[in-house]
Symmetry: C2
Subunit: 450 residues, 2 copies
């Protein structure tokens, strides 16, 4: 009788191995994996599961020990205006019209330039990475500069170039803006991190013709259209007065309701408009904190979800929140609808967590790439430190994430397979310089007497 031949197990090389933590993959039907491991090759997840299994197949150039931590998908901020971080706290608690017309619009007109957008976006990215966001959808001006900040920091972003009927800080006319967007889309074609797109501001600030031209350009390049839709009662009234139709019906009229439309806020909707959004496959972004702070109203999110509408979660800009922490936003999203309907069962924690991860990925059309930890997907991953008084004990990890955690519990962040924060130290951003620039801008803006 012969001896059996020894089986020589050759381990495959991985770029990065995360090990020892509890893993919440958020893949459909998944359960938390305690003592898990995850391997990354070329920016993508190649294995995720029990530690013993993963480690028997892969050996990595670099390993991160996540003991006592939670490994989960990075969060997706589906609607913000990143560079407005430089206006954080500039004006609050004011009537909407005063806030916009006497503070935000004049400040934008006077101060928003290339440098402002570059440093403001970097400041916002620093905050987002620190609070566990790995992808954001922006809507602002000078998005070439936002792209520069995104590129340098290794963040993933959809960059919506703002378009309005009137001149903007970066462009004398909508025609110029459209050219600018087209160039930006072409420049970053094929980029894994940077997805330039169009952000026509709203139905009341963009003419029907401009909206149609935006749609045509977006369709030509297969990029989504981001818009503020039915955000406030005054928007509803103005659009009704102007077009004899509600914002949603006006969009339908212009044939703009489609699966590539990302409609932000969606507060003032009728039942039949919700049906219509569902039928057209429009994606919706929920911004509860901004809707609260600006007193816009409570969006009918449970009703949209019940109709099968895809909903992501966003913080909106820093001037109306005033932070970019999606963990806090999840908490608010879970609680607001409960009190508004006097029903504690709506918006349970798992639904809200999905909204901030896979929901956001679906909104951006990236659900095959990000939003959950699955083999083949891009490695956008965060590790939380759970060894903290406010996160213990853990009966239900999803509850603790939504109701107890904040972004400050995030320890490490990986985007596109690259470590961008380790032990709360940013690796791709010179934080000191960014903080100094924020202070410089504030002194300029506040010191101007405007």
């Amino acid at each position: 009788m012969k001896e059996p031949l020894p089986i020589l197990q050759i381990k495959k090389p991985a770029d990065l191995l995360l090990t020892n933590g509890t893993i919440l993959t958020l893949a459909s039907g998944s359960k938390p994996i305690s003592e898990g491991a995850l391997a990354i090759v070329d920016g993508r997840i190649v294995a995720v599961g029990a530690k013993a299994g993963v480690e028997s197949f892969f050996e990595a150039a670099r390993t991160i020990d996540a003991r006592g931590g939670l490994i989960m998908p990075g969060l997706i901020n589906a609607h913000t205006h990143a560079a407005m971080s430089l206006f954080r706290g500039l004006a609050d608690d004011l009537p909407l019209k005063t806030w916009l017309e006497n503070h935000i619009f004049p400040a934008e007109k006077r101060w928003v330039n290339q440098e402002f957008v570059y440093w403001g976006t970097l400041l916002a990215i620093a905050e987002m990475i620190r609070s566990g966001t790995t992808t954001f959808a922006d809507g602002y001006f000078f998005e070439e500069q936002a792209a520069r900040a995104v590129q340098q920091s290794g963040m993933r972003a959809f960059l919506g170039q703002g378009i309005l009927d009137f001149p903007t800080p970066d462009s004398p006319s909508p025609a110029e803006t459209l050219k600018r967007i087209e160039a930006l889309i072409q420049t970053h074609s094929g980029s894994s991190l940077i997805h330039p797109t169009l952000f026509p501001h709203s139905v009341y600030t963009c003419s029907p013709d401009l909206l149609r031209r935006c749609r045509d350009l977006a369709d030509r390049y297969g990029v989504p259209l981001i818009i503020h839709l039915a955000e406030t009662k005054s928007e509803l009234d103005e659009v009704l007065r102007k077009y004899g139709k509600s914002p949603v019906n006006q969009m339908e009229n212009l044939e703009l309701l489609s699966p590539s439309l990302i409609a932000c806020h969606c507060v003032w909707l009728t039942e039949s408009e919700m049906d219509l959004l569902a039928r057209r496959g429009v994606k919706v972004v929920h911004n509860p904190e901004s809707n609260m702070k600006l007193a816009s109203g409570v969006a009918p999110i449970p009703e949209l979800l019940a109709r099968g509408v895809t909903v992501g979660l966003g913080t909106d800009g820093c001037a109306s929140n005033n932070n970019l922490d999606l963990f806090q936003e999840m908490d608010t999203a879970a609680k607001l609808d409960k009190v508004y309907r006097l029903d504690p069962t709506v918006m349970p924690s798992n639904v809200v967590l999905e909204m901030a991860t896979l929901g956001g990925a679906k909104v951006l059309g990236l659900e095959r790439e990000i939003g959950s930890l699955e083999v083949g997907k891009k490695a956008d991953i965060i590790i939380l430190d759970l060894h903290r008084p406010h996160l213990q004990p853990i009966y239900n990890i999803v509850s603790n994430l939504v109701y107890s955690a904040t972004g400050a519990d995030v320890r490490d962040v990986i985007i596109d397979g690259k470590l961008v924060m380790q032990d709360r130290k940013l690796l791709t951003i010179d934080e000191e310089t960014v903080l100094q620039k924020a202070q410089d801008w504030k002194e300029k803006i506040a010191g101007s007497g405007d």
Copy 2:
């Protein structure tokens, strides 16, 4: 001509000197002091003002450099159930009756004992100190054990011993509980940190006779009475059915509405009940996150404030929030009323910050001792690190505190003149042991199959 005699300035000794930070005293009419300093002797503030002035008069045994930070009063959590931290996330998103009767009440009956309250309160205190709270008002059982935790940690607390018509985890009858409270009050008479008091649970769980006996005992010792009042619609309905009066009117009927009553929640109030609360000088505690999560309703806080009612801010217990972070609670308090009334001007940030500081002190009758940084007051002080992306730039520090900060931005905490957290390290609590105990309790509770 004689030479002038040199003036020999003898500096007075101080125990602790805080220097270089911006100081927000929150004293009436005060403005932020940049480059400030504050001196502490025997647990009290003896000087606060410009650095040069304070440092010319005092030299300290120990100095804390608060450069880049903000020195402000510690926050006051005016309503919580500290030991319930061990039930954090045990049950969420359920109908109120199911949540209470199938989860919380049975868990309390089975698990709440002396050890549970001791470790649960320590866990809660660890979380509160870490998030900048220096005083809390508790309402639970085995408050002798809460007192033990408070004593050890150097926290300041009002400890409301829970009383109900039926047997509680710590007592077979209300009569026993009253004896227990009396003993606890006597034991801690004259303590600076520990203020035992009575917490008759509510009008629907305490008989008129019991409520009167509570009032008599509280009056005899000059301690406040803490109660849940008009929290939910079902409470309103039940009390109406039982007594033919609303909870507030039933309390008036029993002559319990007085300046020493601390009424928590106060959601379901009529205009005339608000007038009555104001007339009687009743103190109110606002718990917006708990009221949202349990779908209790939105409390009419702006209306109460307009009537001159003193309002403090509380997190409620961890089973209905699920954290004890008053910075997040301020954010929610500022935003909830705005969206509820569709008015972005209500509950401005300065009003909310006062609610969490001096307002809470007034609720507890300690406004001459704590709630602002003034000479003669006790040194309950927190230092925040402002050198962080989500707290920059600063146009209005109060806005950043309410809308942008979280408890994780607190760096150092001083209570009664003693440093209890430095550079985010707890100095009076063995955090590792507390976290281990929290996990042990969870395993026992979750493992029991209940």
